[in-house]
C-alpha cells in the first residue's frame, strides 16, 4: 500500500512542478491560465487521492473527494472569468497567436453589459415612479 501511495503522490507532485514551471515560462496570460486549470488541478487531485488512500477511512475519503470536487468545479469557472475580464481589459495576446475568435467583439460585450445595466435602471425607475403616479 505504501508503494501505491508513493507512486500516486510522486506523479501529483511532478504535475504541480510542471504547472509551476509552465506559469514561469509561458509567454502569455492565456497560456498561463491553461496551465493553472489543467496541470495543477490534476496534480493536487492526485495528491489528495493518495492522502485518502493512506488514511482509508470513509470520513477522510469524503473530505478529499470534496476538495477534488471543489477544485474541478472552480478552476474552469475562475479561469473563464479571469480570461474574459482580462481580454476585454486589453491584456495583449502572444504575438504568435494564430486564431482569435472573439476579435473585435468588445463593442458587443460593452453593449451587452451596459444594456443590462440600463434595463435594470429603467426597471428600478419605473418601480420608483409607480407609487408617485398612484399618489
Amino acid at each position: 500500500m505504501d508503494y501505491l501511495i508513493m507512486v500516486i503522490i510522486t506523479f501529483g507532485a511532478l504535475f504541480v512542478l510542471f504547472a509551476a514551471i509552465g506559469i514561469v515560462r509561458m509567454p502569455d496570460l492565456y497560456l498561463r491560465l491553461s496551465v493553472t486549470t489543467k496541470a495543477a488541478t490534476l496534480g493536487v487531485g492526485m495528491i489528495l487521492i493518495s492522502g485518502a488512500v493512506y488514511f482509508s477511512e470513509p470520513s477522510m475519503t469524503t473530505r478529499a473527494l470534496a476538495v477534488v470536487f471543489f477544485l474541478l468545479l472552480n478552476a474552469p469557472v475562475g479561469a473563464h472569468l479571469i480570461g474574459k475580464a482580462s481580454y476585454f481589459a486589453g491584456i495583449p495576446l502572444w504575438k504568435k497567436t494564430v486564431l482569435d475568435d472573439i476579435k473585435g467583439s468588445k463593442d458587443d460585450y460593452l453593449a451587452l453589459k451596459n444594456g443590462e445595466d440600463e434595463d435594470r435602471n429603467k426597471n428600478t425607475d419605473t418601480e420608483s415612479q409607480k407609487p408617485e403616479a398612484d399618489v
Binding site: V16, L17, R32, L48, Y54, E57, A64, L71, V77
Partner: protein, 90 residues
C-alpha cells in the same frame, strides 16, 4: 525507505520548489491578471502541501483547512475578476 521519510525528502522539496517558482511569477507578473492567476495557483499548491502534511503528521483535521482554502481561492479569483471587469473602458 519508509513513506514518511520519502514524503519529507522528495515530495515536500518538489512542492516547495514549485511554490518558489510560482512566487517568481507573482512578483514579476506584468499585469494584475498574471498576479491573480499566480495567487490562485499558489493557493492550489498550498492545498497539496497541506494534504502531504496531513499524511506526514498523521493528523486528520488538516484536510478541513484544505477545504476552506479551496473555497477561498475561488472567492478571491471571482472577486478580482469582478474588479478587473470594472476597469474596462470604452
Amino acid at each position: 525507505m519508509t513513506l514518511h521519510y520519502y514524503l519529507q525528502v522528495v515530495i515536500l522539496p518538489i512542492l516547495a520548489l514549485s511554490a518558489i517558482l510560482i512566487f517568481i511569477r507573482l512578483l514579476i507578473g506584468p499585469s494584475l491578471s498574471d498576479r491573480v492567476v499566480a495567487l490562485d495557483l499558489l493557493i492550489t499548491t498550498a492545498i497539496g502541501t497541506i494534504s502531504v502534511f496531513a499524511v506526514i503528521f498523521d493528523e486528520k483535521d488538516y484536510l478541513d483547512v484544505a477545504i476552506i482554502l479551496a473555497l477561498i481561492a475561488f472567492l478571491t479569483t471571482v472577486a478580482f475578476a469582478y474588479y478587473i471587469e470594472k476597469q474596462i473602458k470604452r
